[in-house]
Symmetry: C2
Subunit: 383 residues, 2 copies
Amino acid sequence: MNKDGSVGVVKTKYFTFAEAPDELVLESERTLGPVTLAYETYGTLNGDKTNAILVAHALSGDAHAAGFYEGDTTPGWWDVMIGPGKALDTERYFVICSNVIGGCKGSTGPSSLNPRTGKPYGFDFPVITITDMVEAQRHLVDHLGIEKLLCVTGGSMGGMQALQWVASYGERVRSAIPIATALKHSPQQIAFDEVVRQSIMADPAWRQGEYYEYGQPEKGLAVARMIGHITFMSDQSMEEKFSRNLRNGQYNFDFAADFEVEGYLRNRGDNFVRRFDANSYLYITKAMDYFDLSGGRLIPNGKVLSTRFLVVSFKSDWLYPSYQSQEIVRVLKMKQADATYCELPSTYGHDAFLLEVEEQTTLIQHFLDKTFNGYHVVSSNDI
Amino acid sequence: MNKDGSVGVVKTKYFTFAEAPDELVLESERTLGPVTLAYETYGTLNGDKTNAILVAHALSGDAHAAGFYEGDTTPGWWDVMIGPGKALDTERYFVICSNVIGGCKGSTGPSSLNPRTGKPYGFDFPVITITDMVEAQRHLVDHLGIEKLLCVTGGSMGGMQALQWVASYGERVRSAIPIATALKHSPQQIAFDEVVRQSIMADPAWRQGEYYEYGQPEKGLAVARMIGHITFMSDQSMEEKFSRNLRNGQYNFDFAADFEVEGYLRNRGDNFVRRFDANSYLYITKAMDYFDLSGGRLIPNGKVLSTRFLVVSFKSDWLYPSYQSQEIVRVLKMKQADATYCELPSTYGHDAFLLEVEEQTTLIQHFLDKTFNGYHVVSSNDI
């Protein structure tokens, strides 16, 4: 056992499928192929392949959820939750995480080469949906020889994917843990995404999406990310972190960054343009806005699922407020699903799913324990 | 009496002061002069000049608070509250509203001609503060021969000016009605303003503020305004107004505006660039961020004011949440001030101060009645 709770050094793997003429048919009825998924796995798949957990990432995430790349000091984005003895215990479970299609971290997206032209897709890339992302993941899960996932989990857009797995392939999902997410975006959430998109598209360097030989629309993308960061934090967490602290101890009386919060946002914006593709930001926010499992689309009428659910929200999350998680639970209960809801008392806002480790860990460990044990009992009965 | 409650056709007036060498000395220690204020008045100043109410406008407001310009069909921005029989009853009171310095609606601001160069100030315009805005208004009030204002009122940044009047010239303010405002911006409010500024300054058409001969940085300013509109509304009011309604009844699967809320925001952004100067948006948001009357700066220790206060907030306003109004009341009560607080149950968010007419009217009418009557009793005793 790895004593420090880390999965150690990891490598990203790649899986390519949907070669012509068997291209992926998207929800838009357009096709995409070949499709490559970048993915990582942690832990070991057991003999009867019943211990696989699929982790789905949020807007700007990637396949690198845990461990370290060779020579790197920053771990994957959910390393606090994935590893030996952690919430997703890699001593017991086999954890998979793949970059979504439309992304820019190794999976096929607008910055990938279009085989028809030999140049990046740019705005020729088809609009993709959460359903399409899940469909691509399903190909990967098939490829790994896994018939039924022990769990699908993720926060924010990752939670949407967990819910979409239930809607698309409920019988292949033993349990789901949607965290800080929603059945559908409210108009306020759509509005924030739209402003983010307009900010990118307003930058002349965006060039209608065909900027790859010239460089990113850096300024528009930086502003877009700044907007995002405000919505990821809470009023309270910003007060705790920045208050009205001044960078130089006094007002500058100019338009340099006077306040620490301004410096922080500018910094986050500037860093982001070095690691994320502007077009991917457009495509992925659009996929989130299109997502809508309300109105019986999560579990169709008459269908009975044995999937277990743990729905988690955070008190200070105003981007994905608790009422949206409660709505998921209400819909599940109406379909007689086995669903538990827990609102955790964090001040971190939407970022809490990345930061609130302790209570999240306890909740998830207990839930997975029961699911995994129950699963084996059921499996034996089935045989 | 005007039966329809309108003050009728109005004209903007102009008052110029602070000619060199008596320029206005700003909080930054820079000077500005000459200074012109665009202003309007409604109703009649009484003989003893005790019925004057100063209305201060918000971020994108102007001097045109009530009535109609000749041939125009859209009334001033607070016409619902100002007029015969309305909250600020022009049959009884003399109402004044002036455009703030730094603005672009007739008062001296970055788009005004710099007498030293004969060209627009642009980014040579000095950074101004709420204190400076109030100082300019004080010159106007002197010019109108008014020693003591019956009331200073306004919503949002207008409320900040009302509070600053108390801090700067408390003995000249019989009463104040700060609405949907704060003693100081929180880091979240600063953050939204900073993103708005970055959006404008990211537009290459902004040209470091020297764009006047080329035209506005339209795209950056439009995005800035879109961000603003999200914060002015509430989650609930957006749900009621737009829900997830689609403009074409189905997803476009492209980046045109799919949802009504997207079309609304784009429209608001596009309209705004036709009526507001980008540099003014920068200067005025900076003034709001600098505003800070916490820590004994509203009423200094030992000072006793006879000013009466009505503090109003709106339940769904998350940009200026009620806790900020409650903080104003707490500070006032600690200084033994005569302060009343009321939170009104609106779903309109921050926009409520412009839209919630009925209850706001009743509250303000009663408060002004008592203030005006009490004022006259005190005045008679004084004689």
